[in-house]
Structure formats: C-alpha cells, structure tokens
Amino acid sequence: MTASKDKEEISTYKTQPAEILAIRDLTDDTRYFKLRCKDITMNKDFQYRPGQFVIFSLPGVGEATFSLSSTPTRRDFIEFGIRKVGSFTEALFKLKKGDTIDIRGPYGDGFEMEDLRGRDLIIVSGGLGAVPLRSVLLYIEDRREEYNKVFFLNGARSPKDMLYKRDFIAMNQRQIIDTHLAVDEDDTGEWPYNVGFVTQLIPKLGELIDSENTTAIICGPPIMYKFVIQELLKLNIPKDQILMTLERRMKCGQGHCGHCAVGGRYTCLEGPVFTYYDVQHIKELI
C-alpha cells in the first residue's frame, strides 16, 4: 500500500489498519479525521502527493473514497475532511478517537508540486473542494520559498459552512499565503472577510500575477468550475496551467470497476487532477 513500491505489487483489496488519532467537527455535517497507520514502518512508507485519495474500508459497512487533506511534508499522520452524506459516512461518524479504520491507497494522480516551483499560484476552492486543496496549501506553506506569489481564494455558502475555518483564518493571519476567505452570504453580519462569490475575487489578481508564469489550482462543486475557469482565462492563464481535481463514483481506485471513466480517462488513474487543456473537450465532464 505504498506509492514508493511498484504499484503492481499491491494486492487488490489489501488494506492496512489505521488508528484514529483525532476527530473534530468542521461544520454541522463535516468532520476532520486524523489517522496514523498502525504499522509504523508502513507509516513511513506511506508516500503521497496532494490531490491523491485513499479508500476506507469498514467491515460490515463497505468502502468509500476520500481525498487526502494533509500534506506529505508533515509525516506520521494523514488527515481527511469528510461530509456525512450516506450510509458509509454515517457509520464513520460513529467512530471515536482510538478506533481503527482499514485503508488502502493512495490512489490517483495528484498535483506535481515540484513542477510548480517558481510559479505564481492561484488556488481556488469552493465548499468541499477545500479538502484536497488544504493538502496543497499546507505543502506550499512548508516549502514557501520554492514558489513565487501564492493566492488562496476560498468560497463557502456562509461562515458556518466554511470548512477548516480555524486553519484558514490562521493561514490568513500568518500571511505566508495571500489568503482571501469569501462567503456567498454572511448571515451572521460579523464576517470580517469577503462577502460574495469566490469568482469575484479573481479579476483583482490580474495586476498582481505574471499570467504566463501562473498556475491555477481549482476544486469545488460542479457549478463552480465553469465560472472560475472563465475568469482565469480572462487573466490569460494558459489552459494547461489550470489544474482541476474532479469527482467521480469509484469502487476500486485501480481502473477496473468502470465507474469513474469519462471521455476515455479513468478519474482514479489519470485523475483526479486534470489540466483544463486536457479535458476541455470532454463531454459529461462536470
């Protein structure tokens, strides 16, 4: 179950036990889970890239796919942000600190963070998109000197719906990354940051970035992509420098069950991270 070993060696459904180190609520229906592989040697071997995902197995309940939300620059634990939406997550939410989950992975093609060195970065997140992008953000914070200007635009429906609010406010205060936190509607009347759609924040970045040397990384609900991509193209960001991570139903993570296929690509193998250039003509993409 390691990326460092040849993937051919991975037995199809072989899982490894991971202990829940911590759980906390992120929103009403979303929780943070921190895990550590019980086998310490496995733990060291668990190499992954931001954007990759892991499959959880709960005997008696089934399997489900979750994006890694931690950064590989911080070893010995992995983190997830999980919304309760179905029977699997309902069972998962009943677990407590100290309980065990079987995991397999990591799967998928994540972000090539090394290739982005020296570039300006615009990271746009909406809703649950914050989960995989938190991995990117923390990675960048840990290796900030490797990147040029970095902007993070995060959108949520309302202050109470914002995932990782605590982390992101702290990130805003640290100012290692130029962080902009937006809510569509401020029902509290006390939101000290931006109010409005996250797309409205993009045009302002035009004068601050060097378009040719900028990479945008986006993840969010299906509706968000179209508008965000439009705004990014207006800034003349090259199509192959718009990276997006896509969601699909997945059962195996290994390119066999057929569910995640779109336009001849398997989201679990070639994705979930795609460049806009590669997928712009694919139908039924989002």
Partner: protein, 352 residues
C-alpha cells in the same frame, strides 16, 4: 509441439479425462438455455451447442468475473477469515480449470477482459481465476446465427487468448492446435486421444480455414467508427433508441466485454460475520455515475444509453486498440426491447 488430430467421437473421452485433473466447464443446457457450467462427466456436455452453432447465454466471463463474487469474508471481531485467494481456490476446488468449447469471439472477449484487468493495478481477483484456466476453443467456420457479426468486429480469428483451438476438418475429425504451454500440456498429457497429423489432414485444415474466410462476411466497416460515434454525440439517433430501451441492463450482463462491477457488503443477521462482494454493474443503471450529494454525472437516460456506445466504440479503442464488442450478438438476442447494436452503429455511420 505439433498440432494433433482428435476424432469427434473421442471428444467425450477427452472431457472425461479432463474431469479427473481439472474442474471442467463446458456448454450444457440449463432449463433449455445454453449455458457454460461445471460438468463432472461428458454425459452432461451438450456437444450440439458447439456444433449446431449456439452460443451459451453468458460468455466465459462468468468464470473469471462472476455475476456475484465474494472478495473476502470477515468476522467483525476476528477480522478477515477467508482471503480472496482462499475463496477463489475453494470455488475451483483447488483445481485448475478447463473451459471447453469457447467460441473464437468469446476467446476475443476474454482477451479484452484480461487486458483490462491486467492493466494498471493487476487485479488479483480476476487474474487468479484467469491464470489457472486452460481455454479449449472450438473454431467457427461460419456465422453461428443471424445475430452474429464477429467478422465485422474482427473477433473470429483470435491470435491469442486460447490454449488449444479445435477446428473441424471433417465430420469425424478435428485438428487440435496448441497455442500456449497450457495447451501443449493438454495434448501431451492425454496422448491416447490425440494422433499424428497426416498430410491429408493438413490440407483439410487449410481447406477448412479457406472455407471460414469465404463464409464470414463483414456487415459494415468499423474503420473510423470511433470518430463516427464521437462526432455523433449530439445526434438524434440516441434519442430514438433511448425511447425503445428499457434500461434493464441485460445487454451489459450478457456482453463478453462488459466488465464494470460494483462492490457490496453482505452482513449476517447477527451482525457478526460478513463478506465483501463484487457484483456486475451496468452503466444503464441510474446510480452508475451518481456521487455523494446526489450529483449524477449521467442524469438522463439518453446520456446513459449513449455512454455505453462511447465507452465501447470510442474510449476502449483509443485506450487499448480494441473495441469493447466482439460481435457475438448476445445483446441483440437477449434485448427485451429488440434493440440491435448493429442498427445503432449503422445509423451512426450513416449506412442505414
């Protein structure tokens, strides 16, 4: 190792000999439906299915990728009790498997599945069953029935994927051509059933293959099919067939190359034991592309109808250099709505 001759009347003896050493799967009738099933003696095998040109309802994929397959069993306290390998070995009674009487199109179908399941992460569950199986194919010298269009899909002359190919060279004789070590072993291990090939037999074999070449006709050209299907994304043709389709998924289940599966959890009533199962899934089912939060990437019936064609005739050729169709015609035979895949493709190409 040279090809050998086996007489038609010795085929039952071959089956009986094989049953001593292998788990043998051969064509039988199950409630009058031609079916591949486990046989204990040659008396159970329906040779007329082979020689009177009928295809078993389900292709040999049911051996490697069964409709329902336990991947592992567990006890909620003790953990995994039966591993995938143990279960797979128990299913075949710790024996190697012979599938007897596989038609060339089905050999091609197995080849498609093997490529897919060996690619990327090789799939232990499929390959453990596949790799212990010897495939004895029986050649077709003519279209087996009206729904067959294997020539169109270039699937009736597979170059690999079978271990022995039996071709009728006369009413009483077949030539056995081995195509792998497993195949050679069959010819070597039952020497009393196989005789040397004579010059006359060789000539008869060439005649049989020439006859085969002459008999098979192409119905339409698959050259450029991927582009045709891709360019017809917005075509009204999909709508026309979507209206007829019942979305029962039968075509996907009887298809030798449809491989999509879902994973299910089966738990005992006392909630102590359980097993994880793979089960055939169909892209015609509404939940196939449904994700958490009720977002469905293929929400409409038309999208789902079209997707099967896109996957078989665009995605697979572009990825693997073969179509996801071997022209066996099962989907035509078993479609309750009388949809003929050839009609769909011909309309797309513009020849109907």
């Amino acid at each position: 190792m040279l090809s050998k001759i086996i007489s038609r009347q010795d085929l039952p003896k071959l089956i009986d000999a094989l049953t001593n050493d292998f788990l043998v799967i051969a064509p039988t009738y199950d409630k009058k439906v031609p079916t591949f099933s486990e046989v204990e003696s040659s008396s159970e095998v329906e040779f007329d299915i082979l020689f009177n040109e009928k295809l078993p309802m389900l292709p040999p994929k049911k051996v490697f990728l069964p409709a329902k397959q336990t991947v592992f069993k567990y006890n909620l306290i003790k953990g995994v009790t039966d591993s995938c390998d143990e279960i797979s070995d128990a299913v075949t009674h710790n024996k190697n498997v012979v599938i007897f009487g596989v038609s060339p199109c089905d050999v091609s179908g197995v080849g498609v599945l093997e490529r897919i399941f060996r690619d990327n992460y090789s799939d232990d569950v499929f390959l453990r069953l596949h790799d212990k199986t010897t495939i004895i194919s029986v050649n077709c010298l003519d279209h087996c029935y009206e729904n067959c269009f294997c020539e169109t899909m270039s699937s009736n002359d597979p170059k690999s994927g079978y271990d022995v190919m039996l071709t009728e060279i006369s009413k009483s004789k077949l030539i056995a051509v081995p195509n792998s070590d497993k195949g050679k072993k069959i010819l070597r291990d039952y020497p009393e059933l196989f005789s040397q090939i004579s010059e006359k037999d060789s000539e008869a074999y060439i005649d049989a293959l020439n006859l085969k070449n002459k008999n098979f006709k192409t119905e339409f050209l698959v050259e450029g099919l991927a582009s045709h299907v891709e360019d017809s994304f917005e075509s009204e043709i999909w709508k026309e067939f979507t209206e007829k389709c019942l979305f029962c998924g039968s075509c996907t289940f009887v298809c030798p190359t449809c491989y999509c599966y879902t994973v299910k959890e089966i738990v005992s009533v006392d909630l102590k034991d359980g097993e994880r199962q793979r089960e055939w899934d169909s892209c015609y089912f509404p939940e196939f592309a449904l994700v958490a939060g009720d977002h469905n990437f293929r929400e409409t019936k038309e999208q789902r109808f079209r997707y099967r064609y896109l996957h078989k005739f665009v995605d697979l050729p572009r990825r693997y250099n073969f179509e996801g169709c071997v022209g066996c015609g099962r989907c035509v035979t078993y479609c309750p709505a009388n949809i003929d895949v050839r009609d769909v493709l011909k309309k797309i190409i513009g020849v109907m």
